[in-house]
Symmetry: C2
């Protein structure tokens, strides 16, 4: 759930009855949690809007894969395993070819991810795809943003800035290349990582708004700061066409990565690195949490933008 934080904080942080005992975790994390036995239910929603999250020329199968996977990624970032989703589809007109391609891709991706479409609605209007995803997380094991501890290692589970390079390249008339195009149009996060981090990691988030913005959500929720090592952050090679400082800033603030950023105690390092090896997932330590607030990059305070904001 990439809430636009200021807006949500100002208008929507406390809406409705405050004493709903079935609510285990409300606004402010990758997903909410509600009471269910044996395991709590995790739920999240994200909407893709044409011209904002997708280009007008993105094919139907890209809409399907992206809408589904960004939501399953949020569920997984809680340490939960998704099992079902709802679809609210808004399309400008009945278009058989588009619907066929969209539903075929949705089916393929949902089947691969072991999730089932259980409901939704369809409406005529400007194209938008809203998906609500559900999962269960082992009781007491949810990876909340607020649980990072001081002196934790900070990890990312993959390359940063590849999808952002696609957006940048298009804006500059550069050929983005197949790799970046696929990353932007067909995000394909590993959903098995989040659940495996339960009991090892302290806090996790999926990188959707930009690495620094999303890490900062963990830091703010946990009342901590971070010290990052620039050279350790695995920036997509595509950015080498730009001057280094610009490339770095664009990559770590660009978003749409759908890898996990998580924190874990240094005592878990050996276990995590062997887990990474056995799962064939990159887990790269990019820094550590510290007392205070804000982000230090190679010991200098980061004063730049943190990530993407729809309303700035």
């Amino acid at each position: 759930m990439s809430l636009e934080f200021d807006l949500i904080h100002r208008y929507f942080s406390h809406i409705g009855s405050p004493i709903v005992s079935e609510v285990l975790l409300g606004i402010g994390d990758d997903a909410a949690m509600v009471s269910s036995a044996p395991d709590p239910l995790v739920i999240t929603v994200d909407t893709l809007v044409e011209g904002i999250h997708c280009f007008a020329d993105d094919p139907a199968d890209s809409w399907a894969q992206k809408a589904l996977m960004v939501n399953l990624s949020d569920v997984s970032a809680m340490g939960a395993t998704p099992f079902a989703f709802l679809l609210s589809l808004t399309i400008p007109a009945f278009d058989d070819a588009w619907l066929k391609a969209f539903s075929a891709a949705l089916n393929a991706q949902a089947s691969k991810s072991n999730v089932q479409l259980i409901g939704g609605d369809t409406t005529k209007g400007p194209r938008a795809v809203s998906i609500t995803a559900l999962g269960y997380v082992k009781d007491g094991h949810a990876l909340k943003r607020s649980n990072a501890q001081v002196d934790d290692d900070i990890y990312v589970t993959g390359t940063i800035g590849l999808a952002a390079f696609y957006v940048y390249a298009r804006s500059k008339g550069i050929e983005p290349g197949e790799h970046a195009t696929r990353a932007y149009r067909y995000p394909n996060p590993r959903l098995d990582i989040g659940p495996r981090l339960c009991g090892l990691a302290h806090a996790a988030i999926d990188v959707s708004d930009g690495l620094l913005a999303d890490l900062n959500h963990i830091l703010t929720a946990s009342q901590l700061g971070a010290r990052l090592v620039q050279d350790n952050i695995p920036i997509a090679k595509e950015w080498f066409v730009c001057p280094e400082a610009e490339a770095f800033e664009r990559a770590v603030t660009g978003g749409d990565d759908y890898v996990l950023c998580f924190t874990a105690p240094k005592s878990a390092r050996a276990l995590l690195l062997s887990l990474a090896e056995s799962m064939e997932v990159p887990m790269v330590i990019i820094g550590e949490t510290v007392e205070g607030s804000g982000i230090l990059l190679d010991d200098k305070p980061w004063n730049g933008v943190l990530g993407y904001d729809h309303f700035s």
Copy 2:
């Protein structure tokens, strides 16, 4: 969930893994049900789009109340009690006055309905409000569409066609009047009726697409027909400005009523009518279910349109 049936059937009836054991009820009812103990969880989503479900001049508080209540109505039509919801909000620009009015109305209505906002996202784009609502229903007591039996009484729990009159009046340049305007802009369904029908009613649906269309969803799912008595259907008085046949057709196919249409065995009639009296809710018997399919109105087959379809 007002699924556009043909479209959903053609493209979305079987998407994803078919063997997800946590899914108790998938596509095709007011809401889906997933495994949870002690009671199953009910979940639904509906999106309001400007120009389709709302007029451009509908005030912000109307968007809030309508988006929330149409979804809580779906939860209640399953016999469930809602407790939480997620909000996906798309707005063309940051507008403090609109957001203040929207969030205040959402808070007021959510508090009155004992539900809490637990998550969501906000995006820039053409105005649309998508709400996902959650509730629990007593195990084994969900009011599914597919459970109507032959010779059931068919009930509605309120006036039919009031909101539809607002839409009609605007299209004709007639003054719709305060009552119809409120019904269209501020739907306020009783959420306590659905749960009280558990154990008494066989099947229920909330009337959103038009009484005949929604009744027909029950009939199709239960493989039954219906015999209705025109004079028993409580049409809004506002329609008296039109010729009777036209008024009737527009009212029973107009939608946006957010009352319940349910079926129950004739043996439950005395209990239901005393429940209606004690709850101060109208429960009007408008006909009965019969073998076969389709709707007979005063013994003549209804061959007209059934309700609203976005894509017809």
